[in-house]
C-alpha cells in the first residue's frame, strides 16, 4: 500500500491556480495577493499539505541531514554524544542519520559510502579496525564537510573534537601508582587509533614520572576494539600467565572496561585486592557496581554539541574553510572502590 501525500499540483488543480502561485502563496511571497494567500493556506491546511522534502532536497542540492558514524549506538559514551549532536541538529533544523560500524573496517566503508550521497556533512569517529583512511580522504578531498570526534585522523585537515586523552590516562595511571599499584597493565583498542596513542602516552608518562620502567608485556590491544568478550578474555589470560603478573589494569574503552569486569567476576578475582581496575567509561551504573568502578569519564554530550556546531557552521559557510579548530575537552576522574586497596579506603 502506498502513502500518497498531497502535492502542490493537487492544490493548484483544486483551486484553479498555477503551481507557482500556490508555491509562492505558501512561502508567503510578497507578490501574491493576501486573498489568494489566505485561500491557498487555508486549503493547504485543510488537506494537511506538507512539502515533499525529497523534492526540496533535489532542488536545493542539499538534504539538511548530517550523518553520524560511531562504532556502536549501544555504548553509553556514543549515545551521549549522539544526544549532544541531536540537540544541536534540532536547533538548526537538521536531520540526523546514525550509523554504526561495530568496530569493523568493512562496515565503516559501507556506511560512509551510503551516507556520502545523502548527507550534507559527516561526523565521524573511526572504527577500531580502521588503518587505511582512503575512503574518507577521498570524500574530504571532494569537499564533503567532515568533523572528526573522539577517534580522529591526525593527517586530515578538518575540525576535530576530542577529550584530553593524555591527561585522562596520565591521571588515572598516577592515581593507581599513588594507591600502591606498580604493575599496571594497559589494554587499548588498537594502536592505530588516535585516542589510544594519546592514552598510551599518558600512561607511559605517568609511569616514567614515578620512575617505573614500562613493560612491553603489560601493553595489550584488542583486535576488534574489545567488541567481543573473547578478545578481552584472551588478553587477561595472557597477562595472568606472566611471571610478574600485573596488579592493576588500565583500560581504554567502555567495552573493554566492562568486559574486564565480567572476566574478573566470572573467575573469582577480587577487585581491588587481587587486581585494581580503572578505565574510560561513561556508564552511570559503574558507581553502583560491586565494587564500584573507578572510571575516567568524558564530556560526551559536550563533544557531540561541539562537533555538531562546527559541522553545521562548515556546511553553511559560503566559502571553503581553511582554518580548522581542534577542541579538547577535559575528562573527569571518578575514584571509587575498584582502585583503592581496602586498607587505604578513604
Amino acid at each position: 500500500m502506498k502513502f500518497e501525500p498531497v502535492t502542490i499540483k493537487d492544490i493548484a488543480k483544486a483551486l484553479n491556480l498555477s503551481k507557482s502561485t500556490v508555491s509562492r502563496a505558501l512561502r508567503d511571497s510578497y507578490e501574491i495577493s493576501s486573498e489568494t494567500k489566505e485561500i491557498v493556506v487555508a486549503y493547504a491546511k485543510s488537506v494537511n499539505y506538507r512539502p515533499n522534502p525529497i523534492a526540496l532536497n533535489l532542488k536545493e542540492r542539499r538534504s539538511r541531514t548530517i550523518g553520524i558514524v560511531v562504532s556502536e549506538i549501544a555504548n553509553s559514551f556514543f549515545s551521549q554524544i549522539i544526544n549532544g549532536i541531536e540537540s544541536i541538529a534540532k536547533e538548526n533544523d537538521y536531520n540526523v542519520i546514525i550509523t554504526q560500524t561495530l568496530e569493523s573496517y568493512e562496515r565503516e566503508i559501507e556506511v560512509i559510502h551510503n551516507l556520502a550521497q545523502s548527507v550534507d556533512g559527516l561526523l565521524i569517529s573511526l572504527s577500531s579496525e580502521t588503518k587505511d583512511i582512503a575512503h574518507i580522504q577521498l570524500l574530504h578531498d571532494r569537499g564533503m564537510p567532515i568533523v572528526f570526534f573522539d577517534r580522529i585522523i591526525e593527517s586530515i585537515e578538518a575540525h576535530k573534537v576530542i577529550s584530553d586523552d593524555y591527561k585522562g590516562a596520565y591521571s588515572a595511571t598516577t592515581h593507581l601508582l599513588e594507591n600502591g599499584y606498580k604493575k599496571i597493565a594497559f589494554i587499548g583498542n588498537t594502536p592505530n587509533l588516535s585516542i589510544i596513542k594519546h592514552r598510551k602516552e599518558g600512561y607511559l608518562a605517568a609511569l616514567q614520572k614515578a620512575g617505573i620502567k614500562p613493560k612491553e608485556s603489560y601493553i595489550k590491544y584488542c583486535e576488534h576494539g574489545g567488541m567481543y568478550y573473547e578478545e578481552v578474555e584472551e588478553i587477561i589470560n595472557q597477562l595472568f600467565k606472566l611471571k610478574d603478573r600485573p596488579d592493576a589494569v588500565f583500560s581504554c574503552s567502555d567495552k573493554i572496561t566492562t568486559n574486564c569486569f565480567r572476566y574478573f567476576n566470572a573467575n573469582n578475582i577480587i577487585l581491588p585486592d587481587d587486581i585494581a581496575l580503572i578505565g574510560f567509561s561513561n556508564l552511570d551504573l559503574t558507581g553502583f557496581m560491586k565494587p564500584s568502578l573507578s572510571i575516567i569519564k568524558q564530556q560526551a554530550f559536550e563533544i557531540g554539541v561541539k562537533a555538531a556546531e562546527l559541522l553545521i557552521k562548515q556546511i553553511e559557510s559560503k566559502r571553503p574553510v581553511y582554518e580548522y579548530s581542534k577542541i579538547v575537552l577535559d575528562p573527569e576522574l571518578f575514584i571509587r572502590d575498584s582502585t583503592q586497596k581496602r586498607k587505604n579506603t578513604q
Copy 2:
C-alpha cells in the same frame, strides 16, 4: 564549500553520449551494445560515479528509509532493538533514521511529522506521555505503513511486536511472593501505556493468586516515564511515608529500575534486607551491581528484527495489508540478589 558529485549528465557529456544511454549502460540494459557499456562503466568507475539517491527517491517516490521512534537511544532496551532493526534494514537495503521522543508527547508529534514525508514506513514505540494518538492515526489512515513495538496502540489495526508483559510481571511478582515479600509496590511509567496496563494486570493476578489484596497506595506512576530521577525519588518518598511501608518494589522500566536503585543507594537502604527490587531491564551490568539486580529481560534484539521484517514486508507488498500479526515474545526472568532475603540465598 560544496560537495559536487559527478552526475550522469557529466558522464554523457564527457563520453559524447546521451543521458539515457549512460543510464541504461549503467543499469546493464539489454539494449546497449557491450562496447558502449564497457566504456561507460569504466569511465563511471574512474570518476567514482554514484547515483544520486535523492533523485532516485524522487523518481521512485520512495526513500528506502524507515523511521524509528523510540523514547531514548541511550537506553539499553531500545538500543538493542535498534540493532535488531538495523540488521534487517541492512539486509534489505534500507536506511534507518532514528529519532527519540525523550518520553515527551510534544517531541513525539514533532519527530513523527518530520519523519512522515521522508520515510517509507515507521516503527513506533510510544512516549510515556502520549495519550492522544491522532497524529499517528492520521498517518495510518493515509496509508503510511506503521509497525508498533513495545508500547503499542491497541486501537489501531497494524502489525505489532511486543513482549509478554503480563507473563513477565506475573512471574516477577510471583517470585517476590515466593521469597517472602508480601507488600509489593508497583511503579510504572504511565497508565496510558499498553505495556504498563499488561504489567499491572500480571502484577495484580499474581497477588490475587496468592490471596493478597492489592493496595491502591502501592501502585504508582511516573508522569514522565521515569526519565527524571526526581520523579522516582518523589514516588519512593511517598511509598516510604505509608504506615504499612512496602517491602519490595516491582518496576516497569529500565530507567525507573535504575533510578530506584540510585535512590536506595543514596539513602542507605539496603537491598534486599530493607527492601527488594526487581524490574524490567535490559542492562547487562545489572548482574554486577551491588547487590546484583533481579530483572525481567526482554528479547530486545528479536523485537527489532521482527518489527523490521513486518514493516518491510508491508512496505513492499503490492496490495493493502488487511491481516495484521501480533508477535508476542517471552521475556526472561533473571533472579539475582536484590530479591532474595539473605537467609534464603541459594
